[in-house]
């Protein structure tokens, strides 16, 4: 089984998931809710994360996600909606706390 590691800050939690897993799986792997998922369909913005390491490991955002991130003022290219990501390699993310 090819497992990839996701490190989630500021909770400081490491989660191992099979390669290609959606990040929503995090919720079923740990007791806490280190990422505050909302709609899980890329339309509410509750799960914005800043990718500190391994941006390419989360796949490419589609145009709708990029538009929404721009609406949220996240234009630096390092933010993602966690519910739209799949873990294809190791990554470290920080949950945005000012949305």
């Amino acid at each position: 089984m090819n497992l990839k590691k996701l490190t989630i800050l500021p909770a400081g939690i490491d989660v191992l998931l099979p390669a290609g897993s959606p990040l929503t799986e995090v919720e079923y792997e740990v007791q806490q809710r280190p990422i505050p998922f909302g709609c899980r369909s890329g339309s509410c913005g509750a799960c914005v994360i800043e990718v500190l390491d391994g941006l390419a490991s989360l796949g490419d955002p589609d145009p709708d996600e990029l538009d929404f991130l721009e609406d949220l003022g996240r234009t630096g290219g390092t933010h993602r909606l966690a519910c739209q990501c799949r873990l294809r390699g190791d990554a470290t993310v920080r949950v945005a706390d000012d949305i």
């Binding site: 089984m1 497992l3 191992l16 998931l17 099979p18 290609g20 897993s21 959606p22 799986e25 079923y28 792997e29 899980r40 369909s41």
Partner: protein, 250 residues
């Protein structure tokens, strides 16, 4: 008990399978389906007909007609399944609703290809579906009434897995035999299955609906039973078209 509200999908929402266990089970299920595909080619008459060089016109048209009917009838059953899924797993319901949204109008793609094959929408609508097609719908009703929505979702996993695996080969053959310009609807249908990772999407729903080892055993059984019913359809199709033509006096 705080109140009398039930069937809203609260309670313990922790999946029966961890992410790793889910991935392992999916690999096991895919192995079962690979074996079922081998059995399909070995046992179903003319199973590879649409992958051949010479495609029987009546077989091709009728298969499009039945496919469109199947989509039209099963979307009703699959919408009923959504109701049942929402009662137990809102997570699975969200995935299933999204999948249904993407598939809902795909019958039109097949009706477009039918027109290119010389079968009008009126002729399609006037064609009574085969008994095997109706019985598949009937099996869905039985499942929803007596066993729950897992069996309905299992059908989609079977179809999506097999489509992604086999459809590209079939479409390449049809480009040569029927002509690429005439199979645009079928190509578009296949694009959705592959580009939107429909097997992965359906599995994401399955993963939340499996709540016990009994569910896993039932899921494997559903995959075999759906294949049996689909085999009955392909036999009916063969007997009504190719075999019937062969019986005609020269």
């Amino acid at each position: 008990m705080p109140n009398r509200v039930t069937n809203v999908g609260y309670g313990d929402r922790t999946p029966f399978l961890s992410s790793t266990a889910s991935a392992k089970l999916r690999a096991e299920i895919d192995e079962q389906l690979d074996q079922q595909v081998l059995e399909w080619y070995a046992n179903v008459p003319e199973a590879a007909h649409l992958e051949g060089k010479n495609v029987d016109s009546a077989y091709y048209k009728r298969n499009l007609i039945e496919t469109a009917w199947r989509i039209r009838m099963l979307r009703v059953s699959e919408a009923k399944a959504l109701v049942e899924i929402a009662k137990t797993s809102p997570e699975a319901a969200q995935v299933w609703a999204n999948y249904e949204q993407e598939e809902m109008l795909h019958d039109e793609l097949f009706i477009d290809d039918l027109a290119k094959a010389g079968v009008s929408r009126e002729e399609f609508l006037a064609t009574e579906p085969y008994l095997s097609t109706k019985l598949l719908t009937g099996y869905f009703s039985y499942l929803l009434d007596h066993e729950g929505p897992l069996g309905v979702v299992a059908y989609s996993y079977l179809v999506e897995y097999v489509n992604v695996k086999l459809e590209p080969k079939k479409l390449e053959a049809l480009k040569q035999s029927v002509g690429e310009a005439n199979i645009g609807g079928q190509i578009n249908h296949s694009h959705t299955d592959i580009n939107d990772d429909h097997p992965g999407e359906v599995w994401a729903a399955v993963r939340h609906l499996l709540r016990s080892q009994d569910d896993i055993d039932a899921f494997k059984r559903y995959l075999r039973e759906h294949q049996q019913i689909l085999a009955q359809y392909f036999e009916e199709l063969y007997l009504d078209t190719i075999a019937r033509a062969e019986k005609q006096p020269a």
